[in-house]
Symmetry: D2
């Protein structure tokens, strides 16, 4: 079995394992996208007469075949094949002989990987957007149900002024709306076709990059091949930044609810399914799910910083270091998506304890109101403030 | 002298220094913005009849006075005053007595700080955009001058295929264009008026938030006061992310040029002003400026990381931890701006050594072309590749 | 099947997957250590008469049985069991009935996990130490073989003064020696028995912590149960810091050799097995293995910072967030160990090109020597420096 | 005025400001250490007859003079001089003429900086150790005063089992003891004399490195000049790691006390000096000092991360990027030292509310005790656990 870059010597097993890493597993998520991109590429090669119509048809047929096999989990990537790109080319060659050997014409593994990843990103950003929309619906439902209930608003973790669940719920909906603005920008960035930039310096053939871009529904061609290579890593950092911002919202939701559900507060009751027990203390109902939700922000944000380091202090042109950006970006998507799902379940099942909220609305929360009663009577704000402060703090 | 929150007891000096930190210095950059915001606030208080027309005029007059004093460096913030907000209110009270004490009506230091910072961000993002435009002009000038010169394109730090300075220059212009998309998104996020959200739970008065938003040229009101508070920190992370992306471009430019200017390559000659000598080795011309340009990416990116940590695992509502986000964001802007200026100088003065570039275009760079000559003759790509590989690698 | 904390209600599948995470896979590495710790615990329970001699013997027998099964890969942890601790207790209960139910007496899952992890750390730190010793032997062999060959020493990526492979090799041996000092400190920290601290507040029984500590060959008992809990996370950060420092050495080795093996320098020749080809450019021999070695520093260092974030802003006492420290620490060890092995192979197979080194020793490298010739003749250093500078730089 | 590396051309002002950075301010902390190192260096030059006895005496005299001027703030470093090293050499030359020009014989600015920094580190690590000792004394005093008072121990932020202030206080003392182990290791690493390694490749003179090492009370000579250069950055990461670990303790102390001092708990009362008010809410007493203490962990830990990035992906030999490690390490020390002082004040003034603690010791905290009552009667642990769980959770 030959690797794409095979030149005749055997690789030490240790080194193989070191260089291949988790790619055979991670690349399962890319098989579909690589086939879609290869179909567009084959058609383009047909258009510029580097492939005959028949060759194109056979390649398209077998690539669709792989997509079907992949759907049912029947398309495998072996450790020896390293990645989905080799596995796909080998499949084509085994089926179609010389025709399979032609699919790599006018492209490099570099732009091939880039194209598959871009298609994966566009799809997954859309899935994140859908998850956010589902979540904001649940938040809105909760707000409709409990929104009018007032409870203490805190600053510095001290009771400040009266808040309400409407205010609290909407704060996260609004934040998620701003996250959607960020996601839209991410899509705008990645929505450029890298196909045809080859190894970062183009190909000495008259290829039609606009054609493949349109076939793959990219809005534009990413013209400069050096920037195209460089944008691997750079775009990933932006995507991970945005996923982190989403996770930061969930981190805050979790932090709030862990506190508010403590018996000392009792403003909310977590769904039973969100709690686990202790192996030694039979009374415990621990908010494990929320603790993990809180923690996962750090995981995703660390992925961003991992990639931001990997790509630094390196010269232009592909460097193999970039291979290691694949795992953090893919994990970033999966952690964010499962976390959004958990948050959706949370808002759908959270209960507010009206009585506890009411009891917590103690006098000092209304001090600012008292100041403004004086202000309305014409007392300068700063004097009114000091007057109320003296009464409350008994000084 | 009284602090805004003074309640009668003295603060230990150590603690004062710990809590005040660098604010008196950092806040110099905010005086102007806080005055502009206070003018809008005063006018709004006039509009809802909490201040008389005369009171508004006097406040506006003195706030403009402060803006003028600040321009010439005559407005000071003392350590005891802690920050610009107290300094400004104290100035007003010393000039206008009771009228000064009314300026804080219907706002909190929280929304006051947020408003000043937002105005600062909008301004500084615009300055960054201008700097990027200046830089891309210089890049374009360099490309016009040297663009046709070919030199080796590298992958894996190995000669790959022929590149050119046009290709190389444009890769960074294109990247900077995408940075402008990101900056536009940042502006969209921060372009929401926080004024009127007070300490994060609104004020019990019928204030006109739309009026102040329009006075301050914000596109929209940030309605939810809890989200408004929370977005301090969150927006800063996004801004710092984008500044980091700009710095990553400069990191790559510097990495390329440090290598290309090594005598072993000699493709470019750095301007003399970009090099320094050694205290022990008289022959040295070191690319110090580029090394620092490369390094500053890590500084700015670490600021992002710093803020992303500071804001985590905390409940909703203002927490004092947020104070520490001011230094990284302000430093982030100043490092990025000076680095863009340096990069501009760099592209304006860089020279290309045509001869060295030409000499470096050795045979192996054209191997891919040879493969495609065979492909054009009908040899399947993979076979053509192996044929050329055998010749070159003599196997 | 019952979880340790089962209280009767079913868990939503989504939530189960969210909370269990990768533990069933990661915990395979802990089975042995958990059994060893459980054996010591059972003996202690026998000593204080909470178990009979027979019960102890049966437990010890079955725990050794699990160790054997685990060696041959026959001990499984199901998704439902969540982790190795539940799997082991369930195995014991299925074999021994009521006796199995007694093994968890006087401990909590918290100190159980801590103990297994500590034993794992002590073992793996020792393995890292052995790997370092193997590596320094290879470095020393290389130095013996090629050490006398001179080549340019660089500062600021500019030729500075003559260096040699002896100097270069020894720089990394010396650094690795200092890494061993750090590892020794890590061992000193983790070499404290956490067993008996239960959930972080002890157990209301007269247990013998000194006995289990001695059985498990810990040097001391970690007395304070709150600190014991808190040190999960804190110790992991230190270990990951040290692994990062080892990886930083490898990052520098890789960075040096990627440059030195460029044809433009040619000071060294990488073993063929360390290079791969390109899918489009048949001439390429890319130093992929070194690029990945360089990149993996960032992976391990990011693990450290991941854990340093996870553990912050949380109150004392176990928080579930800590579960997510398991993956970075385990991956940290495995990446470091495989990287050390690669580095060992590298130094064992690296070749120096004497001719290329010799040719690169150009005149300017000896400028400092010329300065000191003048100094020896009595010229003040600064004047001698300027004199030589003028000659060299022709000014 | 001439810089150490001046070769005759003027530097653009922008570039000067970019390259000099904050060094003139930061270097104030290094003047003393650079003079001490220069004294040892001058004596060594005397010993090997590169300076006469008189020259040595004059240099030593003037260097001591600078130390005295520096003590009273009368020794200045101008922007033009860039750093303390140039300022000191220029001072010597202005006082002693040709003799001053000889002080730089047989060293480079590289080893000069390294030596001054090492002496600074050794001193400052010792100061941190003293601060920790003062803090643990205060913790111990608090434990003596309030240690017997019980209050709830938490896991998952839920009441778990009874704890006490003795247990709580000691957890931090014990952690600080382990921090001292780490600090000792840091000292061991930096306690190697770099003086004489020059620019990283030694000097072509027969200097006596052992002599200067002994003069400066270093335990050993750092032999390898390449490793010596490389250890700048690497050692800084370790120091910053350890300072971060200290700050993590303070982060946890602050997190605990912010919660415990909330009126909803009231276990402790913070000293008035640790609290500030609100500009809008007159009732507020906010734990600002603790919030900042919590936040500063992230500042210091980010410094570590910053340096760990700056030093990566670079080849051996000094790179100017290293200059930017000076600010994070110096700030790291100052933030840690002021934070330890604040923590000391905190433990000296904190009050425990015995009544609130007592009231919080509700029944469920004793569930584990009930389980062990059954265990003592012979019920298998797991059955006893389920029995008590059923009673408490009413299922």
């Amino acid at each position: 079995m030959k690797k794409l870059w095979d030149k005749g010597y055997d690789l030490n097993k240790t080194i193989e394992s070191f260089t291949v890493g988790n790619d055979p597993i991670l690349d399962k998520q890319l098989v579909k996208y690589d086939c879609i991109a290869s179909i567009a590429h084959a058609k383009m090669l047909g258009k510029i007469n580097l492939l005959s119509k028949d060759e194109v048809n056979e390649l398209v047929h077998e690539l669709n075949n792989i997509i079907d096999l992949d759907k049912t989990g029947e398309f495998n990537i072996t450790q020896e094949q390293e990645d989905c790109h080799t596995a796909i080319e080998m499949f084509l060659t085994s089926k179609l002989g010389d025709i399979g050997k032609k699919i790599h014409t006018a492209r490099s593994r570099n732009d091939q990987v880039l194209t598959a990843l871009r298609l994966y990103y566009i799809d997954h950003i859309a899935i994140v957007e859908q998850s956010i929309n589902r979540l904001t619906t649940s938040i809105s439902n909760m707000s409709n149900k409990y929104g009018k209930i007032q409870f203490p608003g805190y600053t510095h973790m001290q009771k400040a002024m009266p808040s309400s669940f409407e205010l609290w719920c909407n704060s996260f909906s609004d934040s998620m709306m701003d996250n959607l603005i960020l996601l839209k920008t991410a899509t705008k960035l990645v929505d450029q076709s890298p196909l045809g930039t080859a190894a970062g310096y183009g190909v000495p053939l008259n290829i039609d990059r606009k054609f493949t871009a349109e076939e793959l529904q990219f809005s534009r061609v990413q013209e400069n091949p050096i920037y195209t290579q460089y944008s691997r890593g750079k775009f990933e950092i932006t995507i991970l930044h945005i996923l982190s911002q989403i996770m930061l919202d969930l981190n805050k939701i979790a932090s709030d609810l862990i506190l508010f559900s403590m018996p000392e507060f009792g403003y909310v009751k977590l769904p039973d399914e969100f709690c686990t027990g202790s192996s030694i203390m039979p009374q415990k109902k621990n908010p494990d799910v929320l603790e993990l939700l809180r923690a996962k922000y750090h995981i995703v944000s660390s992925y961003e910083f991992q990639v931001s380091r990997l790509t630094s202090n390196l010269i232009s042109g592909y460097n193999r270091d970039m291979q290691l950006t694949k795992e953090p970006i893919m994990n970033g998507f999966s952690v964010t998506l499962e976390s959004l799902q958990i948050a959706d379940l949370l808002f759908s099942n959270l209960k507010v304890n009206k009585q506890k909220c009411h009891d917590a609305l103690t006098d000092e929360l209304f001090a600012t109101e008292k100041v403004y009663d004086l202000v309305k009577q014409g007392v300068p704000f700063r004097d009114a403030y000091l007057k109320v402060a003296k009464i409350i703090n008994k000084i």
